[in-house]
């Protein structure tokens, strides 16, 4: 068994994954209970992650599993909590009209695929020029076994820098729209707008009731959270040799803190990681990234050209440069995800432990 087995043996697995994806996609259309829709979306991005693994895209599968199935489920649940739980069914006319539009677009795209290269074709235009050249150059110029990290962090460092600034801007945007949860603590009551339960709930502090309802969850969380953070660091530093890197590590770290806040409550989390630190962290990562760029210019190279970092051995300079910017990406992505979660968590009152 192993890779020398002929290519078609994986078609069976691909077909199964694709059919499951289609089933979940169709189910997403028909469901109106938003909880079910959000959970199905988590399953959908998980199946997409499996498909990426079978398509040899291990880094992308890693990110899709961490981001798609983890963080976006929690964010959507946070948003759904503040909005409604049931979507209104769509009227029949609108359903048929949109089906028509979708059908026409689908036909056009379907027609467009006729002259696309066959699946897995080695000398298709996409696979034969730039991608191949990166494979050759990485050995000599960057010396990092994981070519994807080499391209992401070294060849396209400027593009990754721009992308980290995009993540920062998204964090700022959510902070401006939702605040970072300070509104709740200032007047003790979240600005819960008028909905069914309009009675202003008393300022709720998570009273650790005598008979604690979640002793099992708390014990397991106490065991798990340090391991998750350790795994995030492993993913961060293992990025050069296997799937991993700054983005995935940041998301895993953020989900560890989110798990802590889910079980121990928002006030404990705010005491552990105050909102100020999270805000500072979002900017710190970009500072590290940009700072390294300026350092390379100061040392005579171009912006984010790591060869000059260690004049003796350019390959070592590449390793050092990649590690530093991965730390920058980790800090920014983790703090942005946390600040977004703080923004959502700040707008609803804390559920007492014995209620769930």
């Amino acid at each position: 068994m192993g890779l020398d087995v002929s290519f078609d043996i994986f078609i069976v697995i691909d077909l199964i994954i694709m059919s499951m994806l289609l089933v979940v996609g169709i189910a997403l259309v028909r469901l109106n209970n938003l909880f079910a829709v959000v959970m199905l979306y988590g399953v959908y991005s998980l199946l997409a992650a499996i498909w990426f693994v079978s398509l040899d895209a291990v880094d992308v599968a890693f990110t899709e599993a961490a981001v798609g199935a983890g963080i976006s489920t929690v964010l959507m649940l946070g948003a759904m909590l503040l909005t409604s739980r049931e979507a209104k069914p769509t009227p029949a006319l609108r359903r048929w009209l949109s089906l028509g539009v979708v059908g026409v677009t689908g036909m056009a795209l379907f027609y467009a695929t006729f002259d696309m290269p066959n699946f897995g074709d080695a000398n298709s235009p996409a696979n034969s020029y730039v991608g191949l050249q990166y494979m050759y150059d990485t050995i000599t110029e960057v010396g990092v076994p994981n070519v994807v990290t080499a391209i992401l962090a070294s060849y396209r460092a400027f593009d990754t820098f721009g992308e980290v600034v995009v993540v920062l801007t998204a964090g700022l945007g959510v902070m401006l729209i939702l605040g970072i949860g300070t509104t709740r603590t200032r007047d003790g009551e979240s600005p819960q707008s008028g909905d069914e339960t309009t009675q202003s709930a008393p300022p709720v502090t998570t009273v650790l009731a005598t008979e604690n309802h979640h002793i099992v969850l708390q014990v397991v969380a106490k065991i798990l959270i340090p391991i998750i953070v350790l795994y995030a660091l492993y993913v961060q530093f293992h990025g050069d040799y296997g799937p991993g890197g700054g983005f995935q590590a940041g998301v895993i770290f953020a989900s560890a803190v989110i798990l802590y806040s889910l079980i121990f409550g928002m006030d404990e989390t705010r005491r552990a990681i105050p909102a100020k630190v999270v805000q500072f962290g979002t900017a710190l990562g970009v500072l590290i990234f940009g700072g390294l760029g300026l350092v390379t210019i100061a040392m005579g190279g171009k912006f984010l050209d790591y060869d000059v970092l260690t004049a003796a051995d350019p390959i070592l300079g590449q390793h050092v440069g990649i590690l530093i910017i991965e730390v920058g990406v980790l800090v920014t992505v983790a703090s942005v995800m946390l600040s977004i979660y703080y923004g959502f968590a700040g707008r609803y009152r804390e559920l007492k432990d014995q209620d769930w």
């Binding site: 078609i11 398509l55 539009v101 000599t140 992308e163």
Partner: protein, 141 residues
């Protein structure tokens, strides 16, 4: 003919998923479900890129044992015997890696807007919002 179908079957599945996402975006009035449809649509675009990058019989673009540094100059790299192994194309993976994280960031901003719309208009169904806006229009004019 069969080779054509097997070769293009991935693209047809991806187009179907893309159209499912598009249908959800267009047909539903609920803003949160619209964002879920957008997520489905985005993921199908990522799948298209990654399907293009797969090379038949290839392996993930990670060198097992890093080959010795080429003695050649920086650009005339000696072709290393290790490269006899087929690897999939790493470039689309890089593009999609950043696209996923940017996608989640925009999703977060979108959800934040939905929350504020809910607090401003009291509902996140498309037509209820129009009614509320219409009433505000009438009240203010």
């Amino acid at each position: 003919m069969v080779d054509f179908i097997v070769g293009h079957f991935n693209y047809w599945v991806i187009i179907t998923l893309m159209m499912t996402g598009l249908y959800v975006i267009i047909s539903t009035g609920n803003l949160v479900k619209k964002l879920v449809g957008l997520g489905v649509f985005q993921t199908s675009v990522f799948q298209l890129y990654i399907t293009l990058s797969k090379v038949a019989g290839g392996r993930p673009p990670i060198f097992d044992k890093l080959p010795g540094y080429g003695t050649e100059t920086k650009y005339g790299a000696a072709v290393d015997p290790l490269l006899g192994v087929i690897y999939s194309n790493p470039l689309p993976h890089v593009l999609i890696l950043t696209a996923i994280v940017v996608g989640v960031s925009t999703l977060a901003v979108g959800l934040a807007l939905v929350v504020r719309i809910r607090e401003a208009y009291g509902s996140i169904e498309g037509d209820d919002i129009d009614e509320a806006e219409y009433k505000i229009e009438i009240a203010s004019s």
